[in-house]
């Protein structure tokens, strides 16, 4: 049985069609990369699955582990095992990294989670998750928190953005660790080397998935395109 089934999903913001008739299936333990240019609806899709950002589907349904979830609140979806790492994670005054990584009593060792994202526990555990952290540090801590949660489905929205290229290996390590823990991942990324880790990939355009296949094949299809959003022949966006 599929872990996540998104069926004919639509999301309209006023007259604007952000997601239109989108269908996607993710199996248990599958890493599924979502590729597409900016503004094609990748983050919106992640928000619709997590139930955040004020996004509620205009049509279609989202089923997780056999249960329809699109009417559930965020924490109810989290209780089922879904979590999300935002592209730009929130900052929190007065909350230490140690506390942030232990928000849910999962039994995970916060220090070990930090090591996996390339941060020294002795330097970071007692720091605050506030604006004093650099963007890259905050992203790594967010990934460490996803590791600590041990989710069944992790929605990773550009986990590599804001992180230096030399540290790509850390991101790959996180994805591998989540996968080894049995998690499925919806991986939104613009980096091919990250996308290539996926079991499958989908290309999103104009709020629709226009092809799904191996990461190599989907990336090749993506590179062949000459416009930011297709001319409508593939996604019916025009």
């Amino acid at each position: 049985m599929a872990l996540l089934e998104v069926d004919n999903l639509s999301y309209h913001a006023g007259e604007r069609r952000i997601i239109e008739g989108l269908s996607l299936v993710i199996d248990p333990g599958e890493v599924h990369a979502l590729i597409g240019t900016n503004g094609t609806g990748k983050s919106t899709l992640a928000c619709l699955i997590m139930g955040c950002g004020g996004c509620r589907p205009s049509g279609g349904e989202i089923v997780f582990a056999g249960r329809r979830i699109d009417e559930l609140a965020i924490h109810e979806r989290a209780a089922l095992g879904i979590t999300m790492a935002w592209q730009e994670p929130a900052r929190f005054e007065g909350l230490t990294v140690r506390e942030y990584l232990a928000l849910k009593k999962s039994g995970a060792d916060p220090a070990a989670c930090l090591v996996m994202v390339g941060l020294e526990p002795v330097r970071y555990l007692d720091r605050l998750v506030d604006k004093a952290l650099s963007g890259g540090e905050r992203k790594r801590i967010e990934l460490a928190s996803v590791l600590a949660l041990a989710p069944r489905l992790a929605l990773l929205d550009e986990p590599d953005s804001g992180i230096d290229m030399l540290s790509t290996g850390d991101i790959i390590g996180v994805i591998e660790a989540l996968k080894e823990g049995g998690a499925a991942i919806l991986l939104i990324t613009h980096r091919e080397e990250i996308a290539h880790m996926a079991d499958r990939a989908s290309l999103l355009c104009g709020g629709r998935i226009i092809c799904t296949g191996t990461p190599v094949a989907v990336a090749e299809r993506y590179r062949e395109r000459r416009c930011i959003v297709c001319d409508g022949t593939e996604c019916d966006y025009a």
Partner: protein, 311 residues
């Protein structure tokens, strides 16, 4: 002794254990209403206290170069449901002295209690003074607290002041702090208040950067719910070359609470720079969603955000 026991019990509400007052080498002064219940000094700390008809008057002196090793604990309060306490305190740190004071202001059963504090603080050249004032006003909202202080920070001196009232009700709070600073000095003022019910909170903190390269930050964190009201005024004047000041006010609202922030910055020297930021609003949605995506309920998420902000 009944009053002393009640005061010591209430210490817990400010995050302190009564044993801290029993530790040798730690100075303290405990006053209930206008009665001095307990006092201890340490070498280098000169304290002269008097009971007045409505409270106490104290003169505190830390001699030149003396560094008080452990924080000095001041416990002021009224343990009865009704009462009045007026504190007059004149505190002076001579050149190169250093001390840390923690004032516990305790009104655990207050239904109609008024507490007034009038303080002058003179921090000498190269002297350092940390002053943390932590309040507990009980559950009834029957306390009126009016702390007034005027602080002078000498050349290369340092003043770190904080006011915390984050458990129980506030009642009425009217806090007014004015700081005048000299060359190379550092001033940090922080106020954290949690208001609920029909609490009324007025905070005015003012720093005048009068010496070259003086630095200051005024940081205010207020969380309000129910019908509480708060008005926060942060004033910083940059009057000297190289002076740098910042005013940072954040007020978080729920229910029918109302908040105002009035950052006032002025610069009279073109080589000075003063900045300010103020944010008033409900709990940040992204913060909420992030915590909920970690499995926390909405109530628990709000609780963590508010407690973090007030920490």
């Amino acid at each position: 002794m009944h009053e002393l026991e009640t005061i010591l019990d209430a210490l817990r509400e400010t995050g302190e254990d009564r044993s801290v007052l029993e530790a040798p080498g730690t100075a303290h002064l405990v006053a209930e209403g206008n009665a001095i219940l307990s006092a201890r000094s340490v070498p280098g700390l000169e304290v002269d206290t008097q009971e007045t008809t409505t409270g106490i008057a104290a003169t505190v002196l830390v001699r030149e170069g003396v560094r008080i090793e452990h924080p000095v604990h001041l416990c002021f309060g009224v343990v009865h449901p009704r009462g009045l306490q007026k504190i007059r305190m004149d505190l002076r740190l001579e050149r190169g002295a250093a001390a840390s004071f923690i004032a516990h202001c305790l009104f655990p059963r207050a239904e109609k209690v008024r507490h007034e504090m009038e303080a002058t603080v003179d921090i000498g050249e190269d002297a350092e003074f940390d002053y943390a004032e932590v309040h507990f006003h009980g559950p009834f909202g029957g306390t009126t607290v009016i702390p007034r202080s005027t602080v002078t920070v000498g050349r290369n001196g340092r003043y770190i002041g904080s006011f915390t009232l984050t458990t129980g009700r506030v009642g009425i709070l009217d806090l007014d702090t004015t700081v005048h600073t000299s060359e190379g000095s550092i001033t940090e003022l922080t106020a954290r208040v949690l208001g609920s019910g029909c609490d009324r909170i007025t905070i005015r903190e003012s720093v005048s950067l009068d010496g070259d390269n003086a630095r200051s930050i005024i940081k205010t964190r207020i969380a309000l719910k129910d019908d509480a009201f708060a008005e926060v005024t942060g004033v910083t004047e940059g009057n000297a070359a190289g002076a740098r000041g910042h005013v940072d006010c954040m007020e978080l609202l729920r229910d029918r609470a109302v908040a105002r922030a009035v950052p006032m910055v002025s610069v009279t020297n073109p080589l000075a720079k003063v900045t300010h930021e103020a944010a008033i609003g409900t709990v940040d949605r992204r913060q909420m969603e992030t915590l909920m995506a970690h499995g926390l309920s909405p109530d628990k998420a709000v609780d963590i955000i508010v407690k973090g902000m007030l920490r």
